[in-house]
Each structure stands twice: as C-alpha cells, then as structure tokens.
Amino acid sequence: MVETGHFALVLAFALSLVQMLVPLVGARTGNQRLMAVGGPVTVTGFALTALSFAALASAYAGSDFSVANVWENSHSLQPMIYKITGTWGNHEGSMLLWVLILTFFGALVAVFGNNLPATLKANVLAVQGMIGAAFFLFILTTSNPFIRLNPAPVEGRDLNPVLQDLGLAIHPPLLYLGYVGFSVCFSFSVAALIEGRIDASWARWVRPWTLVAWMFLTGGIAMGSYWAYYELGWGGFWFWDPVENASFMPWLAGTALLHSAIVMEKRSALKIWTLLLAILTFSLSLLGTFLVRSGVLTSVHAFATDPARGVFILCILTLFIGGSLALFALRASSLTAGGLFHPISREGALVLNNLFLTTATATVLVGTLYPLALEALTGGKISVGAPFFDLTFGPLMLPLLAIVPFGPLLAWKRGDVIAASQRLMAAFAIAIAAMLVTGLFINGASVFAALGVGLAVWLVAGALTDLAVKSGAGSVAPAVMLRRFAGLPRSVFGTALAHLGLGVTLLGIVGTLCFGTERILTMRPGETVELSGHTLRFEGLFPQRGPNFTEDRARFLLIGADGNAKGEISSAKRFFQARQTATTESGIRTLGLSQLYLSLGDEGNDGSVVVRLWWKPLVTLIWGGGLVMMAGAAMSLADRRLRVGAPARRRKPAAALTSPT
C-alpha cells in the first residue's frame, strides 16, 4: 500500500508535467484536442494524489512504523483520531495535504469550468499544473513521506503532544483550503496575462473562487486562533507571531481582492489592479508556506529544519512570484483599461477599502520580514511583537472599520454621502448610546474600551441598516418590506453578514482586552479564589492515566452565590512518555459568551500549586464573528449570479431585483 502511494505520487508528478505543457501549447496553437487534454489529466492527477494521501493515512492508521515518517510522528497507543490527523501533523504529510488540495481545486476547475472559454480553461489548468509540478518535485526530492526503514522499529516516537488535539483535525485542512484556494485566482490571473485579454466575465469566474478560498482561510485562522488560545495555556488569542502573520497576510490581501473583484465585475473598472491583487494574494500564500515550512522561523509549525527544503521553497517562491510579476509587467499595459467612476461612489468606497487593506498587509509584511532581513544582513536579532502592530496595523484598521457601513449604502457610479449618512443615523445613534453606556455605567471602562464597543456596535448596526434600507424600510408597508427582504439577492445578505461578523469579532476583542481580569496565585486544596464575581474552590490534584500519557489533574469547583457548587473546571499537567514531554491542558468554562480560563503552573512541595486564572468577557465572540463571516461568504456563494451555469448571467441587475422568483 505504501509503495502504491509512493508510485501514485510519482505518477501524479508526471501528469502535472503533462498538465502544465499540453494545454498551454494547445491554447497557443488553437488546437482543440491538445486543450481538451487538460481536463482529464487534471482529474486523474487529483485521483492519484488522493490515492497517495490515502496510502499515507492508512499507514498512519495502521501504525506502520516501517515508514520513517510514521515512526517519527506516531505511536501505537495514540487514539485513532490522532493517528489519522498525525498524517498532516508533520512536514512531509502536511506538504502532501497541500498538493492534495491544490489538485482538488484544479479538478474542480476542470469539472465545473465548462462555461469557460476553452483557451482560458486550458491556460488556467496549465498554470495549476506548473504549481503542482513544483510542489510534487519538492515533496519527492526533499520531503518524501514514503521512505521506508529497515529494520522497522517496534514503536513510534509519538506525535508532538501539542498537536494531539482535535484542532489538528480542523485547523490545517481549513487553512490549506484557504491558502491553496487562492492558487485558482492566481492561475486565472496568469492565464489572462498569457492570453492578453481580460473582461468583466473574468471577474465573475474568479469571484466564487476568491469567496471559497476566503471563507476557508477565515475559518482556518479563527480555528487556529482558538486552538492556540486553549492549547498553549497563555490565554491569548493572537500573538502577532510570524506564523500567524503568514496566514493573516493572504487573508488581508484576499479580502481586498474580494472587494475589488466586485468593482471589476459590476463596473468593469480596476481590472489590472484586481489581477495584480490575485497574484499578490497567492504570492503571500506561497510566502506563508515558505516562512512556515522552511525553518527560517522557529515555532510549533516548523517541524524539522533542513536547509535544502528552505532553499527549494525559496526557489519556487522566486520562480512563481517573480515570473508572474514579470509577466504582469510585460502584459498589463496591453490589457484594456477599466471604466471611469466618481470618487464618492460604491467603487470609490471599495478603492478606499483596498487602499487600507493593502497598506495594512504591507505593514504586517514589514513587521514579519524585517527581523529576518535584519538578521540576514547585520546579524542583529530583534523581535517585533504586539507593540509594533498596535502602532501600525491598529491606526490603519480603525478608520477602515469606521467607514465600512457606508460602503454598501453608496450607489454605484455616483454616490451620495449625505443620503447614506442620513440612513445610518439610527445605527450611529445606537453606536453612540452603546459607547456612552459602556463609558459611564461599566466600572473600569477606559475611553478606548468605550470607543471600541461603539465601533463594534456601529459595524453590527450598520450591517443591519444595509439590509433594512435595501428592503425599503420606512418607505413601504411592512408586508412589502418583508417580501422585499426575502427577495434580496443572497450576495446582499452575504455582505451584511460578513460586515456584521467583523463587528462581532471586534466586540469580542474589545471585551476581552479591556474588561478581562486575571490573577496569579498559589493555592492549596480547599482554598478559594474570587475573580470578577466568580468563586472557585481548589479541590486538589488527582493523578490519572491517558492512552499515551499520565497526568495530574487539578479540579476546581465553581461556587455559586448560595455556596453550592455550580460546576467544575479542571486543568492538567500531562506527561508524554514517548517524547518525555510535558504539556499543560487549560481548563475552560464558558459562561454565556464569556469564559473562565484556568492554567496550571508548578507544584510546590506542600501540595500547593501555582494557578493562573483569567476572566475573559465576550471572548467567544472573537471566533463566533469568524463563523458569521464564513456564513456571509457561503451566502454570497449561493447567490444566483455566481452559481455555476446560472442562466441569469446576462440578465440586467434591475430585472433580477424586481423579479426574484
């Protein structure tokens, strides 16, 4: 089975070479037969990669320690779920997952891209083939997961304990679906450059892919953030760690792309910019892969460091980013320029959005790469953390968030800020009220906290206002309004949900950062501690055995106002035999939207233990907002206009609005 997987991987590499050459030549020479090769080859390549991945996963599931990769990252006593997720909990396996998703997206284009012009489809598949070929070669030469060991060891060395968590089942696949999803946008851009032709329909094809990638990337980042929050035991949800930034940069650029693609689709403007953004977004994904996988950064994600890998990925990076930008420089001037628009308009607002988002991306990029560059050039070692990003990223985001509600309320071509402001009066009043209530009635609220709450409420209320205005609130009878509401295009709901989710996340961040409390203390069994109105009693430490670890579990009872126990929180120190490694399992209890978070420190000789306790108000909203944003993207994807083969492609927007049935 393992050799089958290895062989399938080599075959998939060979097919990716065919995929990158034959359709390209076909498109160049206008040969229909050569172009038609692209589809079946892409689908077969995906099937082979899937077979290869399945072979590795089954080796993991069956604890086949004759495979070096399995031996290094698995253990026969691990629960089955961690055996399987361990497949991608290491460098080689995660790269295999990367190409699996890449070929999956290629196959989707091949299968669902029948309404694409033949040459465009052929070129897109060829570019996908190029990316695939580069990464297949990378895996086969530097990161082969199928290397055998002889003699086979009896027992594996266990998966890194930090990764033995359900988060590993969700976070990497989601993140990769996002990262790699942008490869399709990249391929479309390069294909358009190769053809030297780009029109509004191009944007209509690219937008759903951007939405899909953005949706998964949002979920992947949110999930990664929650995982780090509960697993690392530091109580933080975002550390501005270079690895986090590596996923955040494509998200910011992808968000900009999402918005500029709307302008291109609706108004045929910003064509060249959209194309460039698509290239940059995937370039940032590649950069992220490089930063995480090359070992230049040290983190949980850098599994093993091998200089050959870093150099190889750097070559891929240079080739694709350099190549696509060179092609862009050569061809962009030959593309027809877009239409005109007034600065005060929906387009203008979206341009402003792009300006903020790309600049913010640039500041994150500088903050992430500057320490690396400095070390390479001068040997000086610095760390750029939260204080840097608070000062650079923060000031860019705040004005952007403040103007978000205006965007959807401005008309295309020529908008009216005054009219939009009037419609937003109610939302503004609610936001001000929320700000005053926070500032005046909540103890210990700073000016910043009040402003933050106000801004978050402004975003939520603004998103709801958008829906209300578009349903005709205030001007038509409630029954008509309800009918109009139901008939609104799904993309309108998508926009409103995404913006609302942003507000929800912001509320969670402000709540946690400004109203959170924490205590560090030593406790003996029977002692109680009080934090922000919650009383906890330490019951003691209880030793337990897990499948491949032993642990000391500290039990705490949450005591209600009447003195009775309301529930239990427990945190544990785990010790994994195979790796001789200890981890801390934090104890979390969700109360409404907030959480009590408890982390265990060292044990004293007298049965006392160091306890760090946090009260995190509204913290769940941080990730809840991410889910709402994902729902927004899904809603937008379901829009008729973006559905594959939707017959309404050429219908005028006005007609679509008045006859939703």
Binding site: G233, P343, V384, F388, T392, T584, V610
Partner: protein, 147 residues
C-alpha cells in the same frame, strides 16, 4: 476631471497614504522592536533600565528560587556571564535548569531583569534558535544528544 487627472489623484492619494503608513512603520520599528541579547553582550551594550529587550541563554544550574506566591527568580547564563531574572507567572512546561530560554522584559533600577514572558520551546530536542546560534558563536554549543 479627465481620466488622467483622476488616475493621478488616486495615485497621489495612495502614495500619501503609503508614505504615512511607512513613516509610522519606521517609527514603530525604532521604538517598539525589542532587541535580543545574551548575558555577555549586555556588558558592552548599554541597555538603560526600562527599555524592553529579550534576554536569552541557559537557565543556570542551581539558581532557580521559587519565592512567595508565583514569583520565581533564576539566572540566565551564556556560560561566560549571567544575569539575575525575576518572573511572576506560570513558567512554561519545558522550563528547567540547564535548558535554553528566552525571557522578555526590562531591567529594573537594581539591575535585576524583570521578565514578563518566558519562552522555552515546545519540543524537547529543541532550543530557541537565537540561543542556539548565540551559544554556537561563543563556542560553547553542545550537540543535543537525542538527534
């Protein structure tokens, strides 16, 4: 406005915006980035009390003292010089004597380094890269045994 003027105004606005962001970035890099030092380097570099730095090295054997509550005192050494550090909070699971750590914080007026974060890496075989590089440069690097 003609097409050209319009495009120009967009570009000028964009550039002004970028310039502002760039200015802010450079200011922040100068003010908010914290430099990494090993104990021996602190003798030559003058780090005023209160300036945030990162201090890396090995936790010196026999120096870890758990005080009252959650405060811990220990020394960080690069085998040539050592620096006294105090930290209040939960030490990472991999923190122990002889292991590499990176602490972040600032010197107090009494010359004791007050750390507000202590990092030891997740993998047992692993030493923070800055610390490993620093020890290699000083010629006191010992290849880890488990590799």
């Amino acid at each position: 406005m003609t097409r050209k003027q319009k495009r120009l105004s967009v570009i000028v606005a964009g550039l002004a915006f970028l310039a502002a962001a760039a200015g802010l970035t450079f200011y922040a890099l100068g003010q908010k980035a914290s430099y990494f030092y090993m104990p021996a380097e602190l003798a030559t570099a003058s780090v005023p009390p209160g300036q945030r730095i990162r201090l890396g090295g090995l936790v010196e054997n026999g120096t870890v003292v758990r005080g009252s509550g959650a405060t811990v005192a220990f020394s960080v050494t690069d085998t040539q010089k050592s620096v006294k550090v105090t930290y209040t909070g939960i030490l990472p699971d991999l923190f122990r004597e002889g292991q590499g750590v990176i602490t972040e914080g600032a010197f107090g007026p009494d010359g004791v380094f007050v750390a507000d974060s202590v990092l030891a890496k997740h993998d047992e075989r692993y030493m923070p890269k800055e610390v490993a590089d620093g020890l290699k440069a000083k010629g006191v690097w010992v290849e880890s045994k488990s590799q």
